[in-house]
C-alpha cells in the first residue's frame, strides 16, 4: 500500500490534490465556535487521508497498467522465441 510508504515520500503530483483540500480547510478565517464537536478535525483529516489514499491508489493503478503492458509485451515475445 503506497500510503503506508508515506505522504512525505510521495511525488509532488500525488500530493497536489491533497494539498488543495488541505489549504481549503486551513485557509478559512472566521469567528471561533468552541462548542463545535471535538471530532470535526478527525472527520476533516479522514477526508484528506481518503483523498491521499485515493490519489495514491489511482496512481498505483496507472503504474501497474503501464508496467503490465510492457511486461506482457516482453513476456509474449519471450514465449514466442521458446516456441
Amino acid at each position: 500500500m503506497s500510503f503506508t510508504k508515506g505522504v512525505m515520500g510521495m511525488r509532488p503530483f500525488k500530493l497536489f490534490p491533497a494539498a488543495g483540500v488541505f489549504l481549503w480547510f486551513v485557509a478559512v478565517p472566521g469567528p471561533a465556535y468552541a462548542y463545535l464537536d471535538a471530532a470535526t478535525g478527525s472527520i476533516m483529516l479522514q477526508a484528506l487521508l481518503g483523498v491521499i489514499g485515493g490519489a495514491a491508489f489511482y496512481a498505483r493503478a496507472i503504474t501497474t497498467k503501464v508496467k503490465s503492458f510492457f511486461l506482457r509485451d516482453s513476456d509474449s515475445a519471450g514465449e514466442a522465441e521458446t516456441k
Binding site: 500510503f3 478565517p29 472566521g30 471561533a32 478535525g41 483529516l45 479522514q46
Partner: protein, 467 residues
C-alpha cells in the same frame, strides 16, 4: 425476584447495559439493538475472537433471565467476571501500547468479516494478567462501504496521543488522563510535541494536521462545508490508516530515563538472605490463608508478586508509581505468562471514584477485592515521605484485604535515613510501638519477624472484622 445491579460504568451505549445479577455479569441488549447484535454474531467473528482469547466469553442466557429486573431486554448475555477492572490512566506504557495494538488488530480483522468497531474507547479493554481482552460485545456493527472511521478521534485521544507524548516527549500521561477521562486532545499534544515529529508521518497527520483542522473547523465557513458534503473514506484508505497506525505504535518505546526504583532489587542494601526471609514470610501468609487474589502495594518489578504466585495465589495486582519498575514488571509477567498485572498508582493518592455522577470509574477501594495485601517497603514512604500519620497509613493498608504483610523499616534503616537526610525528623511516632498500637486497633497481629539485623520488622495481621 431477581435483583440486578446496574454497572455504573455502562450507560453510554443505548444498545445495552451491564448488570450484576447474583454475582454474575449479565449484558442486557435492548430490543432496538438486538438485530444488530444477531447480525454481528452470525458472522462467527465474535466466537473466533473468544476462542483466540481476544474477547471476553459470552453465553446467550435470554431464556433463563428474569427480564423485568433488567428493563426487559431483547437478549441477555452472561460473561465471566474480569478479576480486576483497571483503567487506562493506571496502565504502564507497555499496557497502553498493548491495548492500542489490540484495538487496531480487532478493527483490522473485523473488516474482513465486514464488521467494524463503533468506537475506540480504551475502557473497553481490560487485562487478565497482562493479556488484553476486549469486553464490549455491542461495540461491533456491520461495516458500511466508504463510511468514515467513527472511532478515529477517540483512538487518538485515548491511545495515540498519550503514547506519543510518553515516548517522544518523555512525559507519562497518567495523571493528565486521570483528570481528563476522555483522553488527551490532539490540539493540546500538538502544542508541546517537538518539531522533529513533523517529519514523522503519523504524528504529522494524526496530531499536527488533525489539530490544525480542528482549529480551522471552529470557523463558520468550514462548519457549513462539513455539513453539506458527507465525508467518504474508502475501505482501502481506512485499512491503510489502521495499518499505518499499527506499524507506528508497534515501534514506539518508553522513554529511557533512569528509573527511581527499577534497579531497586539489585541496588538495595539487602543481602539475599534478608530477601529470602521476606519471601518466606510472604509465602507463609499466602499459603496458610489459601489466598486467591493478592494486592502488592509498591510492587516494584514484581519480585514478591511472583513469590505470592508461587505460594499459590491465583492472581496478583501490583501497584507502583515508578514507570521504570512497572515496565520491568510487565516484561516479567509477559515473558513468564504470569497472572500478574502491574499498575501505576501512588499509594498516597489512589485512583478516586470519578466520571459521571462520581461512580462511572470506581476508586481503588471499590475495586480492591483481595484476600491478602503485601505492603513491603511502603510504610516509610507514606509516613515519612508523605506525612501520613502512622495510624492512618496502617488503617488504609488494612482496609484493602482481610490479611496482609506490612514491613516496618526502623529509623536506623539506610532507606529511611535517605528519606530523613534532607528534612528535620518530626516523626516522633515513627516507631515499632506505634505500628503495633495502630495494628491492634483494627487487626490482630498473627506473626512478627525481625529481619536485616533488627532494622526491619515484618507484621502479619488479620483484620478484626474477619472472625
Amino acid at each position: 425476584m431477581t435483583i440486578a445491579i446496574q454497572d455504573a460504568g455502562s450507560f453510554r451505549d443505548p444498545a445495552g447495559r451491564v448488570y450484576l445479577v447474583n454475582e454474575k455479569v449479565v449484558r442486557a441488549i435492548r430490543p432496538a439493538a438486538a438485530d444488530r447484535f444477531r447480525a454481528v454474531a452470525s458472522t462467527g467473528f465474535l466466537r473466533t475472537l473468544v476462542e483466540e482469547g481476544r474477547l471476553v466469553d459470552y453465553d446467550d442466557v435470554s431464556s433463563e433471565m428474569d427480564g423485568a429486573a433488567m428493563d426487559n431486554p431483547a437478549l441477555a448475555l452472561s460473561h465471566p467476571r474480569i478479576p480486576f477492572i483497571s483503567y487506562p490512566y493506571e496502565w504502564s506504557f507497555a499496557l497502553l501500547k498493548s491495548a492500542a495494538l489490540h484495538h487496531l488488530d480487532l478493527q483490522l480483522d473485523a473488516l474482513r468479516y465486514n464488521l467494524k468497531l463503533v468506537d475506540a474507547t480504551a475502557y473497553n479493554i481490560q487485562f487478565i494478567g497482562v493479556r488484553p481482552v476486549f469486553i464490549d460485545h455491542l461495540s461491533f456493527d456491520t461495516y458500511i462501504e466508504d463510511e468514515i472511521w467513527q472511532g478515529h478521534h477517540q483512538f487518538c485521544m485515548q491511545f495515540l496521543n498519550p503514547l506519543v507524548m510518553w515516548s517522544k516527549v518523555g512525559v507519562a500521561p497518567n495523571a493528565w488522563f486521570r483528570g481528563s477521562l476522555e483522553g488527551i486532545l490532539p490540539e493540546d499534544v500538538a502544542r508541546f510535541l517537538p518539531a522533529s515529529q513533523y517529519f514523522s508521518r503519523v504524528p504529522l497527520m494524526h496530531i499536527f494536521v488533525q489539530a490544525l483542522m480542528q482549529r480551522s473547523s471552529l470557523t463558520k465557513k468550514t462548519r457549513s462545508s462539513i455539513k453539506s458534503r458527507p465525508v467518504r473514506l474508502s475501505r482501502a484508505a481506512f485499512k491503510n490508516i489502521l495499518v499505518d497506525l499499527r506499524h507506528y505504535i508497534a515501534k514506539l518505546v518508553p522513554p529511557k530515563d533512569k528509573t527511581v526504583w527499577g534497579d531497586y532489587v539489585e541496588n538495595t542494601s539487602y543481602i539475599s538472605n534478608e530477601a529470602r526471609a521476606k519471601a518466606a514470610f510472604v509465602t507463609r501468609i499466602v499459603s496458610s490463608t489459601r489466598a486467591e487474589a493478592v494486592i502488592d502495594l509498591g510492587c516494584n518489578t514484581g519480585e514478591y508478586s511472583i513469590v505470592a504466585l508461587k505460594a499459590g495465589a491465583k492472581r496478583v495486582i501490583g501497584f507502583d508509581f515508578d514507570h521504570g519498575a512497572l515496565e520491568q514488571a510487565y516484561q516479567r509477567a509477559s515473558t513468564n505468562n504470569l497472572d500478574f498485572l502491574p499498575l501505576w498508582m501512588d499509594a498516597a493518592n489512589p485512583s478516586p471514584s470519578q466520571g459521571w455522577a462520581q461512580t462511572e470509574r470506581k476508586g481503588l477501594s471499590d475495586r480492591a477485592d483481595a484476600d491478602v495485601v503485601i505492603a513491603l517497603a511502603v510504610l516509610h514512604h507514606l509516613v515519612i515521605g508523605r506525612n501520613v500519620p502512622m495510624d492512618m497509613a496502617i488503617r488504609w493498608i488494612v482496609s484493602l484485604a482481610p490479611h496482609g504483610a506490612i514491613e516496618f523499616p526502623h529509623k536506623s534503616d539506610p532507606m529511611v535515613q535517605i528519606l530523613l537526610s534532607q528534612r528535620p525528623d518530626i516523626f516522633d511516632t515513627y516507631c515499632e510501638e506505634a505500628v503495633v498500637a495502630s495494628l491492634e486497633r483494627c487487626a490482630r497481629i498473627v506473626e512478627r519477624e525481625v529481619v536485616i539485623d533488627g532494622r526491619r520488622t515484618l507484621f502479619w495481621y488479620e483484620r478484626s472484622d474477619v472472625a
